[in-house]
């Protein structure tokens, strides 16, 4: 393991300069009397001004590792380590009371979701002041001055105004920055950030990352937990790659990203979609068997003209037009509130239009009443971001798929055969038929959702953030599956996403939306190489640059 040279000896003593030393950290939980190990042997050192990143997918043990470093693993956890030294104190024997004094003062903890981590009834000011008050910092006036100072430091404009507001009055980015301000209120020299930008729009993510970078420059040590390699590449000096509780690979950022040794690291790096990956497979495994005949479709399959949708006076969608050809993919990209999901619902005929028309397969669609639309419904289907909520919780996979086939007049045998065929198409084993979606993994659930969307043999599938909630290697598999299905069946996709990388990987044409309006439209090359509109330029500048080649020395 390579570690940066100690910057300075503390008081001339022969102590290592590491602020945090972890050796062979193990965490286990006891569930129903059985012991389950979730972290098996994590070791690293954290020196001043350094960022250690722990990368992994869900269930890798990365968040548990982070939590065990601040004593937040919960009561039924067993935390063991050969060495766990925080500021040269043995943290293994810390009592809950000792951990409380450590948290905030020595270690700041930034959680993923600012909306649930902040008290909705308290103004931001009270939230940040509490951290100071609990550690008996200053008097009232001094604490208020400190709050304003902190908010200014994390780049919150008009801090005096914002300090008086409650979390629901702030945007996602401001909330996340308020949370960071409360985590660093007491100037902890170690900051642990658990997926700090995961729920954020890309422009906001760029702001939060630059704030973390500034903290690093000021000498703070950062432990960054993330599933997103492009975020990690921005900040990390050292990287630990975790899977199933074990560290698979560990080294400097240049080593791990530039010349990865473990197969899994390579898969992770290959799985990041971008415009450079167009036309190539993202996952390293073989693609599933496809048995589908291309439906005959000539001309546009979906045509939207000047779509308008108003919600209580606000134009959520304002004059959106597009024409989707057979076998084509249109990507709609935009940040939260841009109207992209509403556009998807309008195309699906699940929301009534306030203006404009949608035509499906060259037939009237949006002007029809729902009763007459039903006949055409099999031609257009949908996959949502959260497949779980789109399945009836009482139904198992078999029933979900059989239900999707109701519209077709099939015999029972033919229907059962078709269900198995669908499973093969999306690469799922027959065993999942009897399982309930809740017991499936995120990737399996999304495959079931895709199988359901394929069931009526549609001409168009609307994919609304369909891969956004998935781990990056799973996302890669699903994207590959979608590409393979399109090649085999000639189905068209209307692909909605906030993720420019995913959009550019998949789309033939891209629409950039902002505040309900399409600000720019073109091929991925046009959009990414020669963006015209200032917003598109800002959006593209905000994408964290992830180019593994740049790490190869």
């Amino acid at each position: 393991m390579t570690i940066a040279e100690p910057l300075a000896d503390v008081d001339g003593l022969d102590w290592p300069a590491a602020r945090l030393t972890v050796e062979n950290l193990r965490v286990a939980f006891t569930v129903d009397g059985a012991r389950r190990e979730v972290v098996r042997g994590v070791s690293f050192e954290l020196t001043p001004g350094e960022c250690v990143a722990i990368v992994g997918e869900s269930g890798s043990g990365k968040s548990v590792t982070a939590r065990s470093l601040v004593g937040l693993t919960g009561r039924n956890a067993i935390v063991e380590a050969d060495v766990l030294e925080l500021h040269h104190e043995d943290a293994r024997s810390f009592t809950p009371r000792q951990w409380r004094t450590v948290r905030g003062r020595d270690v700041g903890f930034i959680l993923q979701d600012a909306l649930v981590s902040l008290d909705p009834l308290r103004p931001v000011r009270a939230e940040i002041e509490e951290a100071l008050r609990l550690h008996r910092w200053g008097n009232r006036a001094a604490r208020y001055a400190r709050v304003i100072d902190l908010l200014t430091r994390v780049g919150v404009p008009f801090p005096e105004v914002r300090a008086r507001q409650r979390p629901d009055q702030l945007s996602g980015g401001l909330r996340q920055r308020a949370l960071i301000a409360s985590a660093i209120a007491l100037d902890p020299d170690i900051v642990i950030a658990d997926e700090p930008t995961t729920a954020l729009d890309v422009t906001v993510q760029a702001q939060v990352l630059s704030e973390l970078e500034a903290m690093k420059r000021r000498g703070a040590s950062i432990i960054l937990i993330s599933h997103d390699l492009s975020v990690v590449a921005q900040l990390a000096d050292q990287i630990l790659v975790m899977r199933g509780g074990e560290v698979l690979e560990q080294g400097t950022a240049a080593e791990v990203l530039g010349s990865p040794k473990h197969e899994y690291t390579k898969a992770l790096i290959a799985a990041v979609p971008s415009e450079h990956t167009r036309g190539s497979a993202l996952s390293l495994g073989e693609s599933p068997l496809i048995v589908e005949h291309a439906p005959v479709a000539a001309g546009p399959v979906l045509e939207a003209r000047d779509l308008v949708k108003t919600f209580s006076g606000n134009r959520a969608v304002d004059g959106v037009s597009f024409t989707l050809g057979a076998g084509e993919t249109i990507g709609i990209v935009g940040e939260s509130g841009s109207g992209k999901s509403t556009t998807a619902k309008l195309a699906l005929g699940l929301e009534t239009l306030d203006g404009g028309t949608v035509r499906l397969l060259d037939q009237d669609w949006s002007v029809l009443p729902e009763r007459r639309r039903r006949r055409l419904r099999p031609s257009i289907s949908v996959v949502y971001q959260d497949p779980l909520s789109s399945f009836d919780p009482r139904w198992n996979v078999e029933r979900i798929l059989l239900d999707a086939l109701r519209g077709q007049r099939l015999s029972t045998t033919a229907r059962n055969e078709r269900v198995r065929e669908l499973l093969t198409q999306v690469g799922l084993p027959v065993e999942v038929l009897q399982r309930f979606p809740l017991k499936l993994s995120g990737g399996q659930r999304q495959r079931v959702a895709i199988a359901r969307a394929l069931a009526p043999r549609p001409s168009v599938i609307v994919l609304d953030e369909a891969v956004s909630a998935l781990d990056v290697t799973i996302q890669a598999q699903i994207l590959d599956l979608l590409v393979a299905l399109q090649k085999a069946s000639g189905v068209s996709y209307l692909f909605i996403s906030h993720d420019l990388g995913v959009i550019s990987h998949l789309s033939d044409r891209v629409l950039v939306m902002k505040d309900g309006v399409v600000v720019e439209e073109g091929t991925p090359d046009d959009i990414f190489q020669r963006p015209q509109h200032p917003y598109t330029r800002e959006l593209i500048a905000s994408i964290p640059v992830f180019d593994p080649a740049s790490f190869v020395s």
Binding site: S381, P393, G407
Partner: protein, 282 residues
């Protein structure tokens, strides 16, 4: 717990159930016997007058004591179970049936109808349940059957609001939108998704509602609008004991405790049902 882990999983799971649940189930079993064959449990004739033994405190001869006419209170409580539980089960059924119909209408009917039904439910909900029940008794005259409908109607608005909330939640759920996108008809969606999901919590609510209805029915009887004497419905027992509250407190305390015990047992079982149903989803 270590002894339990050695047992087969199914047995271990049954043994691990809380003691309270066993007590509740045992109590319900006693109630069932009292309803079907009260003579098996009763020690005396519940209607046999014996003025010489009037107002005796609990003793070995009369475990719950005797009332002002010397009738054995324990036997009267046992014989009263049939009326009380009929009212409890009946009222809970009436109440939840009304709640399902009105709640579903408020949640699913076309807008003008839904708004009217919703307002109607809210106006009824604003009245105290007992007031609605009393109104009905005033119209129909006191009897066990009236009590069933009175209590059922009185408690329905609260449950109707709950059903409406459940229906709305299911109606706006992702799976209903997904079913719409698949082209299923409105009735198919209501029958296959909305109603089953919205009504599932009612299984547990029903058990809770039985206990509550008995308490409400007792209130009616206590006010003299329930089952007429000499029937020994528990609320009527309370009402009769009221006159002797200073001399013979047990006449009120013991039937009162029995009512509490029934409500407690029903609640315990209802809770457990609810937990088991929810666990099945996880």
């Amino acid at each position: 717990m270590t002894t339990l882990t050695a047992l087969p999983p199914r047995t271990a799971r049954i043994l691990r159930l809380p003691l309270g649940l066993y007590l509740a189930l045992a109590f319900v079993l006693l109630l069932v016997i009292a309803v079907l064959a009260p003579q098996l449990l009763a020690t005396h004739d519940p209607f046999a007058l014996a003025y010489a033994e009037a107002l005796q405190p609990p003793s070995w001869a009369h475990v719950f004591g005797t009332d002002e006419s010397g009738r054995d209170l324990y036997s009267r409580v046992i014989f009263g179970a049939r009326d009380s539980l009929t009212i409890g089960l009946g009222a809970a059924s009436v109440s939840l049936s009304l709640a399902v119909v009105f709640g579903a209408l408020a949640g699913l009917a076309p807008k003008p109808i839904a708004v009217v039904v919703d307002r109607f439910i809210e106006v009824l909900f604003a009245f105290p349940s007992l007031l609605i029940a009393l109104l009905l008794v005033a119209i129909l005259g006191p009897s066990a059957l009236t009590a069933v409908f009175a209590v059922g109607l009185g408690t329905a608005p609260g449950y109707a609001r709950m059903v409406r909330g459940q229906v709305l939640a299911a109606r706006n759920s992702g799976y209903v939108e997904a079913a719409t996108a698949l082209g299923h008809s409105r009735w198919r969606i209501i029958g296959a998704h909305i109603l089953p999901n919205a009504l599932r919590p009612l299984v547990a609510i029903f058990a809770l509602s039985v206990g509550q209805s008995i308490v409400w029915a007792s209130s009616l009887s206590f006010l003299g609008f329930g089952v007429a004497p000499p029937a020994s419905e528990w609320g009527a027992l309370l009402d009769a004991g009221r006159a002797y509250i200073t001399q013979a407190g047990w006449l009120i305390v013991i039937p009162g405790l029995v009512i509490v015990a029934v409500a407690l047992a029903a609640t315990t079982i209802g809770r457990h049902l609810q937990n088991t149903l929810e666990k099945g989803e996880k």
